[in-house]
């Protein structure tokens, strides 16, 4: 394993659970748009990993592509996705289907709308169990009850229909279905919406508790920085289809090293001191059909130099479990540099 390799995975005794290398995804059309560019990431066993990004960052695209769930016109053009020793990109449909839900469970954003309205939730959970395992219906039903209890719903609701449950409860049912076959990895795409912030936070809390108790890994894909910071062990930040920074939560809080991450954290309203004025990051995320040259963040970066305009910064590992792609990363001490000076006002 190269130095970068071992550092990306944290240099642990175990190899990572999910290991993505050089993944690139295009949307094919009149001209190809590169939505994800040369992405490399590791998810370790038992960790809660948050993939953070704004619009156009490619975070959902990357993960769905890694799991081969992206609809046309998406095409994977390079890379490797190693899961428990197997490259997911080389599997056929049958092998992949056996893997899905058994080892990797995915809860999509619209999971609560994915429940069939004509079956009770108990039937739907047992269907999932029986589709993958040889068990009796009675046993499956009992397990379904346990799963509901696990996510905080009384087992008696097994007989309820989806329309009799609130949105928050349906989301929990989606989670229960995901956990039904005891996967090693649970992927959640945009778990928090503005609908029911209180309940969603409770769900994430419960999920974190379960993860620590049972040892499965969680991959959260979201744009909600504050909840990710609350629940994740490590975070990866994407911008315009490329990785900017990967670091443990504590490191990011004490001092993110990529200017974008720093700007993002500084934009958090929940962290600002009362009475001060936040600056945010001037400009807006770029159109991925026409990305900036060199480092994609450079037009909005207060610290850029000429190099940033021409050359894409390579991904390197400053320490175990960390990754950084920046020509001039910020120092570890909190900056005295006035990051609030915007280079150029781009609307």
């Amino acid at each position: 394993m190269s130095d970068l390799e071992s550092r990306l995975s944290g240099g642990d005794e175990e190899s990572p659970l999910l290991s993505i290398r050089n993944l690139s995804v295009d949307y094919v059309g009149r001209s190809a748009v590169r939505a994800v560019d040369d992405l490399s990431l590791d998810i370790r066993r038992g960790e809660i990993f948050g993939l953070l990004g704004e619009s156009g960052s490619g975070k959902s695209t990357a993960i769905l592509a890694a799991l081969r769930l992206l609809p046309p016109p998406a095409v994977i053009v390079s890379g490797q996705v190693m899961f428990e020793g197997v490259d997911l990109l080389t599997l056929d449909e049958g092998a992949l289907r056996r893997l899905r839900f058994r080892r990797i469970a995915v809860v999509l954003q619209s999971a609560m709308n994915a429940l069939s309205p004509v079956l009770s939730i108990g039937e739907q959970i047992t269907d999932v169990i029986l589709a993958h395992e040889a068990a009796s219906r009675g046993d499956a039903w009992a397990r379904a009850g346990e799963l509901l209890e696990l996510v905080g719903i009384e087992a008696v609701r097994l007989r309820s229909y989806p329309h009799e449950l609130s949105g928050g409860m349906r989301q929990r049912v989606g989670l229960a279905v995901a956990l039904a076959l005891r996967p090693a990895l649970v992927v959640l795409d945009e778990p928090t919406t503005a609908l029911d912030v209180v309940v969603e936070r409770q769900i994430l809390q419960r999920l974190a508790e379960l993860s620590h108790a049972r040892g499965f890994s969680i991959l959260l894909v979201s744009h909600d920085v504050s909840s990710m910071l609350e629940f994740c062990d490590r975070l990866g930040v994407l911008y315009a289809g490329r990785v900017c920074e990967v670091a443990p939560r504590a490191d990011l809080e004490s001092g993110a090293r990529h200017p974008y991450t720093r700007g993002l954290l500084d934009s958090l309203l929940s962290r600002h001191q009362a009475g001060t004025r936040l600056v945010g990051i001037p400009g807006a995320p770029p159109d991925i059909a026409r990305p900036p040259s060199g480092c994609r963040f450079h037009p909005r970066c207060a610290f850029r130099v000429d190099l940033c305009e021409h050359t894409i910064p390579p991904l390197f590992a400053p320490a175990a479990g960390r990754a950084l792609a920046c020509h001039r990363p910020l120092q570890l001490v909190p900056p005295d540099v006035d990051a609030s000076v915007p280079p150029r006002r781009t609307p």
């Binding site: 503005a194 209180v198 744009h223 504050s226 009362a274 004025r277 990051i281 807006a284 006002r345 609307p347």
Partner: protein, 265 residues
């Protein structure tokens, strides 16, 4: 302060019920339940609560988009909304709205110029084409969209989410309102763009003496922008007061839950 200034907007016992047909028969849903509060000049009042708490309903009633079932609203001491009262054009000049979804707040078939032209023409605020063009450029500049000539010709799909919200704000400003009702104006925007919009709103408030009713589920942004806070749960105001004190010492358990969910502990 020797005299408490009379409130600009007085909301008294505002109630809105809907009848909902469900599988179990007809039901009356109370979206807003006897809500009362004041909004003073130059002040920002935040209405916070989750989805379903009734905050958006209240905003829509105050914008004259729905009629209240009970209760009255007074502007400058005169009744403007309530039983038997329909919003007048003058009311529409005083009270404007900015809505949540940047992808839906602008009509996809019309240019930015059209969006800014309509309020100016409808309320007869300009005398000729030249005045119109000047005013349009002025509005775009005041929301930070420059060069204004470029932006006037663009259609919504050519703008980013943040830019669209800026146009929506410019549209609301066109009639020189006294009050702007903002329904989660930043919740659908990227995190790094939100602060820019909130700062813009704060600046405009100061430069134009506006008052805002700011509706949100995110207490952190409410704290950033507002002077006073009303916490809504199931259509009822469960707590209210100056923003900082409500956040430092929440009295109601629901408020505490919201605080935690917004990342403020």
């Amino acid at each position: 302060m020797s005299e408490v200034p009379k409130a600009l907007l007085e909301v008294r016992q505002l109630t809105k019920t809907f009848s909902v047909r469900s599988l179990s028969g007809q039901q009356a849903v109370t979206a807003a339940d006897r809500v009362s509060f004041d909004l003073r000049g130059g002040e920002v009042v935040a209405l916070v609560g989750q989805s379903g708490s009734g905050k958006s309903t209240i905003l829509r009633v105050l914008a004259g988009l729905e009629a209240p079932s009970e209760g009255e609203v007074h502007l400058h001491g005169k009744p403007v909304l309530g039983r038997g009262l329909r919003p007048t054009l003058a009311f529409r000049r005083s009270v404007q709205i900015v809505l949540q979804d940047p992808f839906a707040s602008l009509n996809p078939v019309h240019t930015v110029a059209h969006h800014l032209e309509r309020p100016l023409l409808r309320h007869r605020l300009v005398s000729d084409r030249r005045a119109l063009a000047l005013r349009q450029a002025e509005l775009l500049a005041s929301v930070g969209l420059e060069p204004t000539a470029d932006f006037l010709l663009k259609k919504p799909h050519e703008l980013s989410g943040g830019q669209r919200q800026r146009v929506a704000i410019a549209r609301a400003l066109a009639v020189t309102p006294e009050i702007i009702l903002a329904d989660e104006p930043t919740s659908m925007l990227d995190v790094s763009v939100r602060v820019g919009i909130l700062n813009l709103l704060a600046d405009l408030k100061l430069s134009r003496g506006l008052s805002y009713l700011y509706v949100t589920h995110d207490l952190a942004s409410a704290r950033y922008l507002s002077d006073r806070l009303l916490v809504l749960c199931a259509g009822r105001v469960v707590e209210s007061g100056p923003t900082e004190s409500v956040i430092q010492e929440p009295a109601h358990p629901y408020t505490r839950q919201l605080l935690a969910a917004s990342g403020l502990h």
